[in-house]
Assembly symmetry: C2
Amino acid sequence: MAQLNDNYLKLKAGYLFPEIGRRVKAFTEAHPEAVKRLIRCGIGDVTEPLPSVVVMAMHRAVDEMAVRDSFKGYGPEQGYEWLRSAIAGTDFRAKGLDVADDEVFVSDGSKCDCGAILDILGSKNRLAITDPVYPVYVDTNVMAGHTGEADALGAYAGIRYLPCTAANGFTSEPPLEPVDVIYLCSPNNPTGATLSREQLRDWVAYALKHRAIILFDAAYEAYISDPSVPHSIYEIPGARECSIEFRSFSKNGGFTGVRCAYTVVPKSLQASTADGEFRSLHPLWSRRMTTKFNGVSYIVQRAAEALYTVEGQAQIRALVAHYMGNAALLVSGARTAGHTVFGGINVPYIWVSAPSGYTSWQAFDRILGEANVVITPGSGFGSNGEGWFRVSGFNSRANAEEVSQRLQALRW
Amino acid sequence: MAQLNDNYLKLKAGYLFPEIGRRVKAFTEAHPEAVKRLIRCGIGDVTEPLPSVVVMAMHRAVDEMAVRDSFKGYGPEQGYEWLRSAIAGTDFRAKGLDVADDEVFVSDGSKCDCGAILDILGSKNRLAITDPVYPVYVDTNVMAGHTGEADALGAYAGIRYLPCTAANGFTSEPPLEPVDVIYLCSPNNPTGATLSREQLRDWVAYALKHRAIILFDAAYEAYISDPSVPHSIYEIPGARECSIEFRSFSKNGGFTGVRCAYTVVPKSLQASTADGEFRSLHPLWSRRMTTKFNGVSYIVQRAAEALYTVEGQAQIRALVAHYMGNAALLVSGARTAGHTVFGGINVPYIWVSAPSGYTSWQAFDRILGEANVVITPGSGFGSNGEGWFRVSGFNSRANAEEVSQRLQALRW
C-alpha cells in the first residue's frame, strides 16, 4: 500500500500567489467592465522586455542549435564553465570577494534552489525564519517534515520565527538560543528592509559560534541604492564558513519567464554528520545537482552570460532605474494617502500599512474592488505581515503613476 | 550545529556519467594523438541539430520577449495551458487514452521529475527497482533516506531489486511479496527491453491488488517500432488508478540541451495517509510544483509546442529514423564481432555482452584504449549489468558505421 507524504497535509491553504489569482479571477468574472482598468502590482513579476544583449545572445544560441557542428546536447549539470566563470568573476572576485568558479551552481531559479537546498541538510536542524518572509522558505520545510502542525495563526511548530515589525525596522537580531539553519533575505521580500554590515556581522558571528548555516537570499541585490548595504554575505569575514548565497537573474535581467539563477556553496562550508564529524557541503550539493538536475537550457545560459558584458551590465542598470522610479512614485502616493510606508529604496516593492481596522486581505479586497489594483496581502508572508500589504513597482511608468493616483483617491 | 543529510554518505562512488568523463579525460590526456579518433557512444546524448520547426518557434518566442506587449514573465508553474493541451491531446487523447490537460505537468527534465516525485511519497514505502536500471531511480531514493547501506556489490538494503538478465529477456515479473512503489522503464534504458501488453497488464493488476504505485518512465517511447508494444502505461485498463508516467522531449525532439519534459499524474491516482485514508496525489504534485518550481522557460515551452505541429511530428520521425538506422548498424557490427546483443529495435541503444572473463569496466577500458570508442559499462546500471555494456546510436551515420567497423576489428 503506497503511502503519500503526510507532511503536505499540514500545509495551510494554497500558496499565496495562486490564492491571489483565484480572487482576481472571481472579481473579473463578476465585473467584466473592470478588466480594462485592472493593474497588477501583486506578484513581483517584471514587465519590461528582455535587454537587447540577451535577445541577441538567445538568437545566436538558437542558431547554434540548428547546425550539427555547433549543436549542444547535455551540458554540465552545474552550468557551463564560461557562465560560472563570468558570474564568479564579475559578481564576486571583481569586488574583492573570494568565490571560485566551481563554487557557483547555475540553476533554473532561486525558488527551486531554496527548496532543493534542504535535500543536503539533515532533518533535525533547528530553523530560524524571519516573519514576514517569502513563503517558500517555510512551505518547503513543512513539506520536508521539518515542522509540526500549524497553529491558528498559521505558525508551524518547530520553527523559530523571528518577528520583524515596524518597531525593529523589519529586521531581526540573532535569537538568544542556538539554532542551526537561518534564512535571511536582504534586501527583503516583502518588506524592503536591508541588513546593514553591522547586522550581518552579528549574524555571521552567531552562525560561527553555533556552527549554524545562513541561507542568504540576495535575489534583489541589483536594487541596492544605499552604498552602505552589503550586496553579498561574503562581504563579511567568516561568511564562507557559514553561508550559502542565492542569486537570481529574474529581477535584474528580467528573467522571470526565461528562468536562470545561481547558488554559491563555498568549499569551506561544513556541517556535521550524525556522528559529529564535520564535512564540506560542496560535494553533497554537487552530487545533488548532478543526480537530480540536468542543467539549464543552453540558450538560457547564453542569455545569462550576455548580462555580464559591458552592455549587459548597463542594460541591467537601466531596468533597475526604471523599476526604482516606479517605486518612488508608489512611496510618494501611499504616503500622501496617509499610509505608513517601508521599502522602495533598495527594492522595487513598497510595504504599506493597511488603515486601522483592516486586515491585509480586507485591504486587498477593497483595493481590488475599488481601485482595481492587485496588491499582495502582507499576512500571506507570515503573521507579522498582518495589517500590511506589498505593492510592486514592477510595471510600466504609466501604470505606476496611475496606481499612485488611485491609492490617493481611495477613501477608506 | 547544522547537520548534513547523512544519507548522501551512503552513495557509492560518483554518478556513472561523471566517472566515464573522468576516465575519458585521463585517456585523452595520456594519448593526445587519439583525441581526433575518439567517438563517443557513452552517455545517451543526441547529436543532430534541433528540428527546424523548433528553431523557428524559438526565434519567434525570443522576439516576443523583446517587445513589451508580448513579453512573458512568470508562467504557470505547471506549464502553459496551450502546451499541456497539445501534449494531452496529441500524445494521449488522439490515441484514445484518457488524460486531461491538467493532469500533465511540464518540467525541465525527466531526471528532475524522477527525483522530485519522491517529495510527495511517504518515506516508508517498499521499493521495487529493476536491475540493471537508470541509476537516478536508486540514487534519489538513497539520498531521500529510503534505503540502508550498500553491500559489496553496490546493492542497497531496503530495495527489492528485480533481476533482469539474458535468461528473462531483461524484463521482470511482479515479485511474489507486496511492494509499494515500482519503477518500470519501457523501452528500457539501458537494455532496450520492452514490456509487452500482457506484462504491463500483470504489473497493473499487481499494483491494483497491493495498492502500489508504478512510476513508468517512457522517455524512449518515440523509438518503439514494434506495433505490439504499448507506448503508454495508460493503454492498460486500471493504470490511471496506479500509475504516474514520465515523458521527455530529450530523445524525440533532441532537447537534451534545451530541457523540457512532462509528467502525467492522473487525478484518480490515490495513496494512503499514515492513518490509512486514501487521497489523490494530484493536488500534492500540483502543490509541489507550484512551491518548489517556477515553470519552464517560455522559449522552451514554445519549442516543445512546435513538436506537436504536423511538421514537428514528421521531423521527430525523421530524427528517430536516423538514430534507429545507426542502432541497426551497431547491432550488425556487434553480432558479427561475436557479441550477444539485445536492444536496437525499440530504443537507439544496443546492449552487448562483454567477452568471457571481462567485467564491464574492463571492456570499457579496452574499447576506449584500442577502438577509441566511449561506451557505457553495464555494471554502472546495477549488478545484473555486470558483463554487459551499452553502445548508443545517438551519433552521425558516419560515426555509427565507423564504430560498427571498429567493434568488428577489435581482437579480444
